[in-house]
Structures are given as structure tokens and as C-alpha cells.
Amino acid sequence: MSTVPAPRELTTRPRLSDRVFRRVVTAGGLSSLVILGLITVFLAYRGVEVLRQEGFNFITKSNWSITTDDAGNVVESHFGLAAMLVGTILCSAVAVVIALPISVATALYLNFYAPPWLKKFLIAVIDMMAAFPSILFGIWGFLVLMPSIEYWAKLLNRYLGFVPVFHVDAYVFTRSPFVAGVILAIMIIPIITSVSREVFSQAPLDRIQAAYALGATRWGMIKAVVIPHGRSGVIGGAMLGLGRAMGETVAVFTVLNIVFQVNWHVLFGVGGNVASLIILKFGEASPYEIKALMAAGLVLFVLTLLVNAIADLIVKTTGKSGK
């Protein structure tokens, strides 16, 4: 009988001030995209010459030398990051292996064991530790902790020397990847702890109660409910810590003996680190060597970006999967 009226359009056209506002905010919001893009572009632009000349040798070889004639022209150059990359991975792996169990235990302690007053205090202290500058860890590590770490390294070598990674070719334990790894571990414990604490605190309360109601002890409950729920989040936190450890510069440079020689033995006093290489060579680098350092920076950037992206994905998908 009646005709269906044509639906009215319900678009509200924002006022001018709002459109300007949204534009400005969007522009500001895109700053992270712009900055990350520019970093990639500029480092690639500066480093492309070296990358093209070295090709795959840049990441598979480990000699770093440049010869110039009297006029400053490059006669011969070899840039290879292999030792530095291996060192970076080794140091940060040591750091994560040490930091992960301590951080998980600390997070469990904070969530399920500590009395409330102690919990508040410890969280403040650990957050504060995350704000300590890395130069502080470097100098403290070098002057205070290093002698102890070397002693631990010798013990490890004496009793576990038959395990390949704990083997040393010569009896040199100073400034090894292990030393750097321990100091990095101390630096990333706050990060992994706070991510783990966050995911553990999201463990569903009703399942926790269910476990207790079945006669579980506290540890039994943690094994049955908290760990399965938090596992992937903890892995993500460890990856975040790994990313931070791989990019750390000053603290590693202070304690590590940088040598252009691939070394997989963590206790042996020969190490490498991409970030520290840049600080080491920057001072007296010729323009061409600077380009090699830019290329090294690009490799480090891509590496940390990758690790961080994976970490982010893992942390985000956790909690959803548990439901």
C-alpha cells in the first residue's frame, strides 16, 4: 500500500575544524611509518655501494680492512660482518638463556607468592632497573662484575668443558661473549619479567580456582593453568629481550673483546658485536668505511626489526589462543 521511502543517507560530514584535526593527527600518527621508512632508505642508500661490492661476503666473511693510497683513494677493501653477527647472536643468546628462567621465576613469584607490600615494592624496583642507562650497566659490569663472571666462566669450563660451547682453544676468559651475555642478561631481565608478569596475571581466575578445588598445590596449579596460558607470551617476551640485547651498544662495547674472527665458544675471550663494531670503527673511519658501517647498521636494523616483529606477533596472539 504505502511505498517504501528511500533510505536517507546518514553521513555526517565532519566540520572543517574536525577534518583539519583528523588530518593533523593522522599525519602525526604516521610519523613512525615515515621514520622507519627513512631509516631503511638512508642506511640502504649510504650502504649500497659497499653492499654491492661485497655481495654475500658482507655477511659470510669476517675480515675488515681498508687500504688507501696517499691521496685517500681506496686501493683495496674487505668488509665482512660474519664474526660480528655470530658474536651478536652468541652474546644475546647467552643473555636470553640466563635471563629467561630468572625472569619467569620472578614473574611467578610476583604474581603468586609475594605478599602484596613486597610485590608493589619489587615491581617498582624492577621497573626502575629497566630505566637504568646502559652505560651504567657497562661500567658497573666492567669494574665490578667482570672478575666474578670470569671466575664463573673458568668453573664452567673446568666442569663442563667437554660440551662444545664451553670449550676454549686457549686459556683466555677475559672479555668473552659470556661476560657480555651475563651483563646483557641483567639488562633484559626487567623486560622479560614485566611481559611475563603481564601474561601470567591474565591467567583465567576461574581455571585457577578449578585447579585448587581439585586439590592442586600452588605449583600444581601453576603447571596446569598458568604455564599453558602464558607460554607463548613468555616466548614473545624473551624475543623482545633478545631484540634489545642484539641492539645494545655501549654496555657490550665496554666489556667485549672485539676480534674479526668467528668464534662459537662462549667462554673464549674473542667476541664480536655489530653495534659495538660501529662505535669501534667510527672514530677513525674514512668516508668509504663509513659506508660499510652504514651497511652494518642496516643489517642490524633489519635483524632487530625482524626479531621485534615476531615477538610482537607472539605476544599479541597469546591470551586469545587460551580462551
Partner: protein, 276 residues
């Protein structure tokens, strides 16, 4: 309304609470409960006869959940919680010093309002999770699994997919899974806190059936807001009420009496729906 409820209550044979030796079963004596300073429950004494179903009814916030959580010592997980009185299991106070709480909770199982199977475990693992948590060894897990699921009325529906995750079941099935899980550790007593309030009528009926079956072998305490349900499943009923102060138990009697000739005016008001 009153007559229909009492008819329902009379429709099944009430078990006599007297057929037992002294000192067996579960008994609350002068139980009080506090949340920090808030006195939530005052002076509740109740005797749960073995092999019977006791329903706890009363308006929300009158302390029913608090009460049953004092029975298996779940109350103490709330920060600031305190209690007074005694809870006797087979004549021994579960709050006595030197008692292992986890053993108490093994003997007094619990089913919660919302089904809460462990999400990381399969159906089979869920049922047997209590054994694993309590580190109890059994000879034949498969038999136990079948038995518990059978008693919880779920065996036929899940026997072909014991390896599926608990979360893949419907709400009612999940709740029966939780019942099966509680049964696997062979508790003497099963506490149920509004086990059907999150379920549809069909699932509710299935669970009521399960409760009737289970009561042959164990003591059951069930909190319910559904008067019909109390009338259908329970042998005795306790009515709780809070008049602004702490919750109290007003009347405890065989279910048929609570619904046909309650002694207290307030009970009558509540069961006839003139209140709450």
C-alpha cells in the same frame, strides 16, 4: 505455587538422614565468614548427611557461596578473608592446624557456576586432570575415564572424541565435564555453586538427573536460585537470608517441609515468591 513446589518435593523419596554412624559426613558448626572487615556470614551450623542432597536457597548476597566455599577451604584465597567456627569432615576439623588443605579439597569436590574446563587439555585429560594435579596413581585410567563420564551423563556424547579440546563442547556438556572431572578423584562430598545458572533448560535437566544418580554414592550440597530445582533434586533445604547484616541460616528442614509448611515466616515469604 506453594502447593506445586511441595508436590514436586514430595514426588521423590526423601532419604532419611538418620541411617549413619556418628562422626561421618560433613558438618558445619557455628561457621562465620568475613571479607576484611565485612561480616558476610554468621553462625551457620548445618549437618550434611552422607548420601543426601542438600539445597541452599536464598536471595543473592546472603552468603550461600561464601558458606560453601568455607566448607572446602576455598574461602581463604580471597585476600583479607577470615572465618570462625568449625567444619568437620568425618569428625575432624578441616581447619585444624596441621591439616593438608589439598587433601581436604580432594575429599570435598566443587563445581562452579560457570563451566571451567582447562582450555589447554583435551576432554580426556580434563577428566583425569585432578589425578595428575593430586599425583594419584590409578591402574586403569580408561576405565576410570569411562566411569566418571558415565556418571556425569556425558559418556555417550563424547566417547568418540576424547581427544578434542574441552572448549569444543556446549556449555551444558562443559559443565558435565567439570562434574566428571570432580568425580575422578573420588570425593566424598560434591559442592555445587549454582551449577545450572549459566545453562539452558535442557542441559539443566540433564544435570539434575546426574545429581540424583550421584547422590546414591556421595553427599551433595547445591546452591540454587531455582526453587523448582531445589524441590526436584534435594532431600533437605537450608534457607539463607541477610537482613542487611551478615547472612544467616534461617531454616533447615526436609525439602518437602520447607516448601509445604515452613516454620519461619521469612522462609514462607521467600518460597512463595512474596520476597526477593
Amino acid at each position: 505455587m506453594t502447593s506445586s513446589l511441595s508436590e514436586v518435593a514430595n514426588a521423590h523419596v526423601t532419604k532419611a538422614p538418620s541411617i549413619r554412624a556418628a562422626g561421618t559426613g560433613l558438618e558445619a558448626r557455628g561457621v562465620h565468614a568475613w571479607f576484611t572487615k565485612h561480616h558476610a556470614l554468621a553462625d551457620v551450623s548445618l549437618d550434611f548427611a552422607p548420601g543426601t542432597v542438600t539445597a541452599l536457597i536464598g536471595p543473592s548476597g546472603c552468603g550461600k557461596s561464601t558458606f560453601i566455599r568455607t566448607l572446602n577451604r576455598m574461602h581463604e584465597f580471597i585476600p583479607g578473608a577470615a572465618m570462625a567456627g568449625e567444619v568437620l569432615l568425618d569428625g575432624k576439623d578441616v581447619y585444624a592446624p596441621g591439616v593438608d588443605v589439598t587433601k581436604i579439597r580432594l575429599q570435598i569436590g566443587m563445581v562452579f557456576q560457570k563451566p571451567n574446563p582447562f582450555p589447554s587439555m583435551t576432554i580426556g585429560e580434563n577428566v583425569l586432570s585432578g589425578l595428575k594435579l593430586a599425583q594419584v596413581k590409578v591402574d586403569n585410567k580408561d576405565d576410570l575415564l569411562e566411569e566418571c563420564l558415565e556418571r556425569a551423563g556425558l559418556w555417550k556424547e563424547v566417547k568418540d572424541r576424547l581427544g578434542a579440546h574441552g572448549g569444543s563442547l556446549s556449555g551444558g556438556q562443559q559443565q558435565r565435564l567439570c562434574i566428571a572431572r570432580a568425580l575422578a578423584v573420588r570425593p566424598q562430598v560434591l559442592l555445587m555453586d549454582e551449577p545450572c545458572s549459566a545453562l539452558d533448560p535442557g542441559s539443566t535437566l540433564r544435570i539434575e538427573e546426574t545429581i540424583r544418580h550421584l547422590s546414591d554414592t556421595m553427599t551433595i550440597v547445591i546452591v540454587t536460585h531455582n526453587m523448582q530445582q531445589a524441590a526436584r533434586v534435594s532431600d533437605s533445604t537450608a534457607f539463607f537470608l541477610s537482613d542487611g547484616g551478615p547472612g544467616q541460616m534461617i531454616e533447615f528442614a526436609p525439602t518437602s517441609e520447607i516448601f509445604s509448611r515452613p516454620k519461619d515466616k521469612r522462609t514462607e515469604d521467600y518460597v512463595t515468591g512474596r520476597f526477593g
